[in-house]
Amino acid sequence: MQTYFRELSQKMFQLIAGNEIILLNYAGEDSDFVRLNHNKIRQAGYVRQQDLDIDLIIGQKQTSAALQLSGNHESDMTQVKTLLNLMRDQIEFLPDDPYINISTEINNTETLQENQLPDPNLVLNDVINTTKNLDLVGIWASGSMARGFANSLGQFNWHTNHNFNFDWSIYHHDDKAIKQNYAGFKWDHDYLNQKIAFARETLSVLEKPAISIKPGQYRVFLAPSAMQELISMLNWGGFGLKNHRTLQTPLLKMINEKQTMHPHVSLFENTREGVTPPFTKAGFLKPDSISLISKGEYNHCMVSPRSGKEYDQAVNCSSEYAESLELSGGNLHQDHILEKLDTGIFISNLWYCNFSDRNACRITGMTRFACLWVENGKPVAPLNVMRFDESIYNILGNNLVDLTTEHEHILDSGSYHQRSQSSSRLPGALVNDFRFTL
């Protein structure tokens, strides 16, 4: 892929006329996808796709285009020439754009990773045999992914990884299930065995009659997977410079009213520990880390090239959306979670969150999967699903008792159009007076 993209970019740059500048962004993947239901194959297949984004800049005018590559120079260059001509036709009708912002320094980078992926057909045999007699439903996704950048100024960046993401649930009955995930770069059958053994143990709790609680406020422990749902809501416009300057961030009170969170709350975009490329789509290099919230106070924003130009800030990302979020840990050891929770709800997963009052950073959503009612530090019964509606300023503020010392590294299993490269490192959270409404 790398050689092809390099050669194609060189051929394209030979097409440049006058003072044209071209930026190219490549995204390619070879993916196996196997969908499972009732521990059998529902749909199995393979996808090879190669996307190329082209930015054409002439003076203070810019236009963009996207196409999909075949991997054949002749047919791809025919497509490219057609699109470039359309872009040139278009650009002459555009007014000047004051916010064009591209890197003019040459910063070449290359991130390569050894491909240690297993044969997915063999892994599926392994999975189906290991989970015999279980009602497993989920998705296996694996293969190589590559991201590349090249510009006509001479910069070239390349980033590859080869990973798998096995995301599944094991159902006991109705909606009572345990959700699990195993993502990585090298398959370990023993690790899968451990996961499935834990699931079998948990199913014995789920077979107890479920209880329904009344709406009200409860002490809860939010596992890292549940925290991911909440933190991803903050990531929906919470950290972008444009959202801050146009007062649309759900963290508006932290900006306008000096609202703070608990001093244990520090949130970073930790690119160095993530799996995303270290370069942006405009050729800027990302910093290793961006401090978004520090000790409960708002700190820095995510800054895209356009916002950077509009608001005179240094660029630190492609789009104003964190892709490698890390929340600092606290003092709660994972072995003491149930003991410290005492009586309340262990929330393994949240689901379908949304803002019910964006200005107050109030979020609603549902419990899902193996959420348990706990009494005196012992899981008693599964909980029927409940709706919560609570402000993040309470969850990560006054009502936050502690965060776990340990983090979970969660690799996003998302695959809208292409497999996600986002990840997060999150602790669990012990929270008082968490409000359930329905």
């Binding site: 009732h38 996808v47 075949s70 054949n72 909606d175 508006l252 609603t364 329905l438």
Partner: protein
């Protein structure tokens, strides 16, 4: 694009299996946007790829590529054959039972005013004019307008010489204004923002594009000074822009047969609806009539064939409040041993088909809009969705809208902000008290319905009149 050459090339390589189908999808799109009076870089997109499905014995598998050369086709044949072997051994159901398409045909979206009939400069000028109409006050802190189009050509050919070609034209207009005062920010959208239609530029008028630009900004300003929506159990009047979401989340998703069969339990979720409920379950009041209607002109998911080649026809899913049929495609119908509709759809060439909503509509009743208002003693009108959340069985929901108006003693009263409501699907529709007539009927839809593993986002249409519900738990913000 020489589709016939691709098809001929593939046929020369086609493997000897019980059945193959090749679906080629070509997308062309153009996106125009002006924010705060600055033309954003326009975006063109031209993509194309092929999706191959093989059936042999009990197994089936797929492979897809953007490489439409001989080498590309060889590569996907090899990979589909690789997964076919695993599918034969571990398949959830026998592929021998999968129905195959029965007839060839074609479809083309009606377009009265083509995209190309207006120049780029004219389109950008119009978006600039809208920007001026949106920036009416210093409290408007952000504003933007967009006009996008997309053309999708799909071709389905099979080993049985079925040939289906369909061409879809879509238009995505809209604008939004954001108003702020202190720690209070409110956003109001108009002109079809967040929705889309099939057709050409003639569709803009149905979204009041661009005429509603100034009133959109005025309503954003009104919202920042408005009181919070009251907290109470009240009557609720939903305009079609919110009925779209209500139908989508609490009727559409629960009726997807693949959810009922458990395929989505790890991601999008399951359903409170079970197979034994069809034919007798009282889903809503007798005013509730829900149709799967692939023939409504200009609605987003109008088509003659689904992506597996099944002919599409209008069907009642709920009639007089009684649940009749699921949103189940030919394959799901065989698995569940029950009748369904033609709704096997894929978002693009790189994803396989599954059960999706298409056009899912609520049929009009007999009340004028003024009748609906007059029938409410104490209630709230809500318009345009801004928050949506529902449990994985599609039962307990909570939705919020951009704009609310109180209704007192049969008359519209003041504006309220952050109008939210919550309920339970299984009982909410039984409190459907009044259904607007054809004059209140509007065609909406969303380009962003997410589902499936691997994930797919697809366009669905929802048309509805305004509707009134009683005894709804309504509340506002802080």
């Amino acid at each position: 694009m020489d589709i016939q050459r691709y098809i001929t090339e593939f046929k020369s390589l086609a493997p000897a299996v019980d059945h193959w189908s090749l679906r080629i999808v070509a997308n062309h799109s153009e996106s125009l946007s002006v924010r705060q009076g600055i033309v954003q870089p326009p975006e063109l997109s031209q993509t194309c790829g092929a999706h191959l499905t093989l059936i042999q014995g009990d197994g089936f598998a797929y492979a897809a590529t953007s490489n439409l050369t001989r080498d590309g086709f060889k590569h996907i044949i090899d990979n589909a054959l690789r997964w076919l072997e695993s599918s034969k051994t571990f398949g959830l159901f026998s592929a021998k039972d999968i129905p195959l398409p029965a007839r060839s045909g074609s479809y083309h979206s009606p377009v009265l005013r083509p995209w190309e009939s207006v120049t780029l400069s004219e389109k950008l000028d119009q978006l600039q004019e809208i920007n001026k109409c949106l920036k009416i006050n210093d409290s408007i802190v952000d504003w933007q307008a967009q006009l996008n189009r997309r053309v999708v050509d799909t071709y389905l050919v099979t080993s049985e010489d079925i040939n289906i070609s369909q061409t879809f034209h879509y238009i995505y207009p809209g604008y939004e204004a954001v108003a702020n005062k202190g720690a209070q920010t409110q956003q109001r959208s108009g002109g079809g923002w967040g929705a889309a239609k099939q057709g050409g530029l003639e569709q803009l008028a149905s979204y009041d594009f661009p005429q509603s630009a100034q009133s959109t900004a005025e309503e954003a300003l009104a919202l920042i000074d408005a009181p919070q929506c009251p907290t109470d159990v009240l009557s609720l009047l939903l305009k079609p822009s919110q009925m779209m979401l209500q139908i989508h989340e609490s009727i559409g998703h629960p009726l997807e047969l693949d959810r009922i069969l458990g395929d989505e339990r790890n991601y999008a979720g399951t359903s409170f609806v079970t197979q034994d409920m069809f034919g007798h379950y009282k889903y809503g009041s007798e005013l509730l009539n829900i149709t799967f209607d692939p023939g409504l002109v200009s609605e987003l998911a109008s088509y003659d064939f689904d992506d597996e080649g099944t002919s599409a026809e209008k069907e009642f899913l709920i009639q007089d409040g009684i649940l009749l049929k699921p949103l189940g495609s030919a394959t799901s119908q065989v698995r569940a041993k029950m009748a369904g509709v033609a709704n096997a759809r894929a978002c693009d060439w790189n994803r396989p088909t599954m059960d999706r909503m298409a056009n899912l509509n609520l049929e009009p009743g007999d009340k004028s809009f003024s009748d609906l208002i007059a029938g409410i003693e104490n209630g709230v009108l809500m318009d345009a969705n801004k928050s949506w959340s529902i449990d994985d069985s599609r039962n307990k929901f909570q939705f919020g809208c951009e704009y609310g108006r109180l209704i007192k003693d049969g008359e519209l009263a003041g504006v309220v902000k952050n109008p939210n409501y919550r309920g339970i699907s299984a009982t909410f529709w039984r409190d459907l008290q009044a259904v607007g007539n054809a004059d209140t009927f509007e065609i909406w839809g969303t380009p962003n319905c997410g589902k499936g593993e691997p994930n797919q986002v697809i366009q669905v249409g929802h048309a509805s009149p305004a509707c009134v519900f009683s005894n709804v738990e309504i509340f506002g913000g802080e």
